[in-house]
């Protein structure tokens, strides 16, 4: 009988450990703060993990309107009036090194972390 209890305890521990490990490997960085910039200046900072439900942010530029969609853990350019639509084609913001950019309307959506958005920086002496 005692053995069975131990087996259950161990099984639960194994399950928890596995779940944590899988969770860790899927979300290596807890930083989900995203900065939205237009013309080089910050429009808004959004914490993707704190977002519940869907929210739209509208920005206007020289080439019309851009609509950004924010849901829990996810941000993307939902629609844009810009001629190339590259920002919409980019899809979801996934990595720090690959921000969502709308060149015509000068919008950048990127992850904010302490040392810039990239893994390394060429030309910075440090």
């Amino acid at each position: 009988m005692k053995n069975r209890i131990w087996i259950i305890i161990f099984s639960v521990t194994v399950l928890v450990c596995t779940a944590v490990w899988i969770g860790l490997s899927f979300f290596p960085s807890p930083s989900k703060i995203v900065g939205i910039y237009q013309n080089g200046s910050l429009v808004e900072k959004v914490d993707l993990t704190a977002q519940t439900g869907e929210r739209s942010i509208e920005l206007n530029g020289d080439y019309g309107k851009n609509i950004i969609s924010v849901t829990h853990g996810r941000i993307e350019m939902k629609s844009a009036d810009c001629p190339d639509k590259l920002c919409v084609k980019h899809g979801e913001l996934k990595s720090a090194g690959s921000p969502i950019v709308c060149l015509p309307n000068r919008i950048v959506i990127k992850f904010e972390n302490q040392s810039g958005s990239a893994d390394a920086e060429a030309g910075a002496l440090l």
């Binding site: 087996i7 490990w21 080089g40 921000p99 920086e121 060429a122």
Partner: protein
């Protein structure tokens, strides 16, 4: 009891697995070649490899340093003749090749010029007179280096400085050491000379930002790269100011003065670390037009991101898919 033991074993396995995926990343920062270097590697042998890299770079620094009185370059500069190590011989030979590839824009014989401009530690930065520069110029140029078998000789007033190529060579050596240790994911930065080894652990490319030459805390764009060296040369990296005028450290061997080619910053992307390092300086010296010609002849060897004095950005066509920026840029076609 048997099932308990199986579960225990399973648990142990997971614990080992967990700790492995957390411990297999190893980083180190160290000072060498007058700059800060950092190496981050992911993989079983990461600690061994990173420590071996630090040792190797310190060893190369002791061979290549212009200032260290025991270095081979120092001895060659004072004795004008030497049978150097294979590495030093290889790097001098390569430097001469790149000199001729770039019509002398890359030049390791500018040591006497850097000296009169005071760009060595222990010297004071100053603007030399035209007379001083003219007196030094005749000893500058790769034609003043002779290689005979394994003997290197220099003309009487010629001296070498491998500063514009040594970091590139070192990052190539570092990448080799990582490969030998079976590491397929690492990031090396030798004072801003970046080498992306393989991909990130999740398989996506490394992102390497290009510093804004006007504001080092900002970036003008990001390159997504796998297995590439990314090296930037810019006047903003080291300079002094006198009477309101700025003098940077990249000397044009033709004029004897800091290069004024109309470029503010040059970033080279290449599989060849040594070439990337040398070309970033060479193109900074030669300017946009000659860079276009060089790219046309060698578009399989390198790509470039150029920023002009008037803040225009040019990228070579082969970087079109890896460069992203919220600034607009022109594409140089091959």
């Amino acid at each position: 009891m048997k099932s308990l033991r199986i579960i225990c074993a399973f648990l142990l396995l997971i614990a080992v697995f967990c700790s492995c995926s957390l411990d297999s990343k190893y980083s180190s920062e160290f000072f060498a070649m007058d700059t800060v270097m950092s190496v981050t590697a992911c993989g079983k042998q990461s600690e061994t490899a990173v420590n071996a890299i630090a040792d190797e770079i310190n060893r190369l620094d002791r061979l290549f340093s212009v200032q260290n009185k025991n270095s081979e370059i120092f001895r060659l500069n004072s004795e004008k003749q030497l049978n150097p190590s294979d590495e030093t011989l290889e790097l001098i030979t390569r430097s001469i090749e790149i000199s001729s590839m770039t019509d002398g824009a890359f030049d390791i014989t500018t040591e006497p010029l850097s000296r009169i401009w005071g760009f060595y530690s222990g010297l004071e930065n100053r603007v030399p007179s035209e007379k001083e520069i003219k007196a030094v110029l005749p000893s500058v140029g790769a034609e003043h280096i002779k290689i005979d078998g394994s003997t290197v000789s220099l003309d009487k007033s010629t001296s070498l400085d491998l500063g514009a190529i040594a970091k590139g060579y070192s990052s190539g050596r570092a990448a080799k050491i990582l490969e030998e240790n079976g590491i397929s994911s690492a990031l090396i930065s030798l004072g801003g000379n970046v080498r992306a080894v393989g991909t990130k652990p999740d398989g996506s490319p490394w992102s390497v930002a290009v510093t804004d030459p006007d504001n080092s805390s900002e970036q003008i764009g990001v390159l997504s790269v796998k297995d590439r060296a990314v090296v930037t040369s810019g006047g903003y990296q080291r300079y002094f100011e006198t009477n309101g005028k700025r003098y940077h450290h990249i000397i044009d061997a033709e004029t004897g003065c800091p290069a004024q080619s109309g470029l503010k910053s040059v970033t080279i992307v290449s599989q060849d670390d040594t070439l990337a390092d040398a070309l970033s300086t060479a193109i900074f010296v030669m300017g946009l037009q000659k860079a276009e010609t060089l790219y046309n002849d060698n578009n399989d060897l390198f790509g470039a991101v150029l920023i002009t004095d008037s803040n225009e950005i040019y990228i070579t066509e082969n970087l079109k898919d890896s460069f992203s920026s919220y600034h607009s840029y022109e594409v140089i076609k091959a």
